[in-house]
């Protein structure tokens, strides 16, 4: 057992150096706004040109074939440098792993390079008005035609769909099917004929997600991921990634915890808040070490990944609540900490609510009866 990171120090230095020269001096506008979205897309292009937008992918698709450890180190440097939020995240972290597991070589070659280059930004379309935690209750349909599929129905809460280019989601392709059977995983353009995107303001009013209405939207057969009718299986492999480390890497919280310690000090190091700041720092370190443990394991972590999702989402809320309390009367005012706070509040809800994750841990990890 060791924590010897010397093998990745050269990579770390390269990333740090590039970021020091390239991270915008003034923060970009919020990525949940039209202007901010465009600025963040531009940033993705720069990252892509330096082959830093998806370091763990194979080189053939625009990555660097980075090891899991290199990826963790990249993330540490990325957030320590105060680099912009990742507008490409749904594609890079959710769709791409699904394609690696279930996509065809043609799909990989067609979809991944423009994703890495920041040219195509993706939105995830799973949830529906009647299918939230109970995703298998979804009703949007895909109907087979001669050369592809026609999509109908409604999706909702699709992050960044207001400004994104393409979407991926689950549709019921067998009308006689129920629950998780008869679903197909499809990709579709958000500007296709028949797609209506209605942005939804999140808690602070920014159009961070959107409702999608499908009215006979044509999708070519090549855009089915995995087997027709086997979409649930493919979707669950993406869900596993979301719950594991990739969606919110440890580096993000390490950097935020350091900023919290600095904020606490700048505001007079109030002893009444000291223990809370300490706990946040401790938890950020715990998540970092848990990440090292996870990538060191040779077995599949399976349902245990649920524990990561609970931990980082609660840590994020705790971290930002503490920041707002340090800020006192300033806490309610618009600014980076408030933006982070609003963002953090959704963490326990998306990517499988924390109640659902607790069910998973209790039943599949601890073996309690259903």
């Amino acid at each position: 057992m060791d924590l010897d990171l010397s093998s990745v120090e050269a990579f770390r230095a390269e990333v740090r150096d590039w970021l020091a020269r390239n991270v915008p001096a003034t923060p970009l506008p919020s990525l949940e706004t039209e202007k901010g979205f465009a600025a963040h897309r531009e940033w993705e292009r720069r990252l892509g040109a330096a082959r830093l937008s998806a370091v763990s992918w194979p080189e053939a698709y625009g990555g660097r074939g980075a090891s899991p450890l290199e990826w963790l180190v990249f993330e540490e440097e990325y957030y320590a440098a105060g680099a912009p939020g990742r507008v490409s995240q749904n594609g890079v972290n959710l769709l791409a792993p699904t394609l690696f597991a279930h996509g065809t070589p043609e799909q990989l070659a067609r979809v991944l390079p423009p994703m890495a280059a920041g040219e195509v930004i993706w939105a995830q379309a799973w949830s529906e008005p009647g299918a939230g935690s109970d995703l298998a209750a979804l009703r949007a349909t895909a109907t087979r035609t001669d050369d592809g599929w026609r999509l109908n129905g409604q999706k909702t809460w699709s992050s960044r769909a207001a400004f994104a280019d393409r979407g991926f989601g689950l549709f019921r392709s067998d009308p006689a099917s129920e629950r998780h059977r008869g679903l197909t995983y499809l990709m579709f353009p958000l500007d296709a004929d028949g797609v209506t995107v209605r942005p939804i303001g999140r808690l602070d009013g920014k159009p961070a997600f959107a409702e999608l209405f499908f009215d006979d939207v044509f999708v070519p057969g090549d855009d089915v991921i995995g087997e027709v009718g086997q979409g649930w299986k493919a979707a669950m492999s993406t869900a596993g990634n979301e719950r594991g480390l990739t969606l919110r890497s440890p580096g993000r919280f390490l950097a935020a915890a350091e900023r919290l310690v600095a904020l606490w000090r700048e505001h007079g190091a109030d002893p009444l808040l000291r223990d809370r700041v300490a706990d946040v720092w401790i938890k950020a370190r715990a998540y970092r070490l848990k990440g090292f443990e996870t990538i060191s394991r040779s077995d599949d972590i399976g349902a245990e990944s649920s524990v990561n999702k609970i931990f980082w989402s609660e840590l994020d809320v705790e971290l930002h609540e503490t920041a707002l309390d340090i800020l006192g009367a300033e806490g309610e005012l618009e600014g980076d900490w408030l933006e982070g706070y609003v963002f953090s509040l959704a963490g326990p809800i998306y990517a499988g609510t924390n109640e659902i994750q607790r069910n998973v841990i209790a039943e599949r990890v601890l073996g309690l009866p259903r």
């Binding site: 924590l3 060191s296 245990e304 994750q357």
Partner: protein
Amino acid sequence: MKFVLDAEQRLFGETLHKLLTEAGTPGVIRSWAAGEHDRTLWTALAQAGVFALAVPERHDGAGPRPIELVTAMVELGRHAVPGPVVETLAAAALFEGVGDEELSAEWLPRLAAGHAVVSLVPPSAEEAPPCRALDADVADLVLLTEGEGLWSARPEGTPRRSIDPARRLFTVTPAAPLASGPAVREAAAAAYDLGTLACAAQSLGVGRALLDITVAYAGTRRQFGRSIGEFQAVKHHLANAFTGLEFARPLVYGAAVSAGSPEFARDVSAAKVAASDAAYVTARIALQVHGAIGYTDEYDPSLWIRKAVALHSAWGSPANHRARLMKALS
């Protein structure tokens, strides 16, 4: 980078688990609490190599091996082993740090072999820490540090009883000087860090055992015609306990890995806060999920519940360690 135990380290933990399961620790704990201080288990632990982990090879030990030491203490916590184990390990670090070869040669080989039970007053740098040593009446030697002085000490009067019936805490007073000088101060700090790490690992083991015991109980206890483990409120309690313990573990092992580095004290404090909090939360959940039976003295799991409470504040309260951490960060 490989941040998991290797096969040999895992085997060491499994061997101790087996040894302790066969020893039937609940009985041992109850005898210890009743004042019968049989050393059979202590000797067995020494033979398994536990105390040698903090003793250098030149004094018949195998140490320092902080990772194996943590592995061992997790198992000892899992079985709620009584006695001044943490104190004896910390004493080894204290002797080693003081560097008085005569003193080391007198005590360390005996300590490694399990022939010397040593207790001490945790040498915390806090202001006016309580001057109490665990199981001082059982120990062959009791140590006390004051500034640059190392003393042997003797217990005074009757012990204070802890919520953990196996923990009896004695007020001690200095008896004879053993060593003095700046090395003592440094050695005391090193011993405190090692003892705190051992205590954190012990807490982690206590918490892990409580989770296992409680999951098993939730699967068998029936109310309203079904097992209580089917109720979501119970499930979520247990999932929370699991989450806390899962994230305390890497902090405890991470601190062991940083032994010898300038970050050791900081990392030990982080580990102690997380492990003792996780064990404490698990103890509260264990109590709640067991219902009234968990609140009884005679039911064995309550031995673990009470140990989790005691260890929460032993070797520095969480507040102390948070303060120390924040100081280290500045």
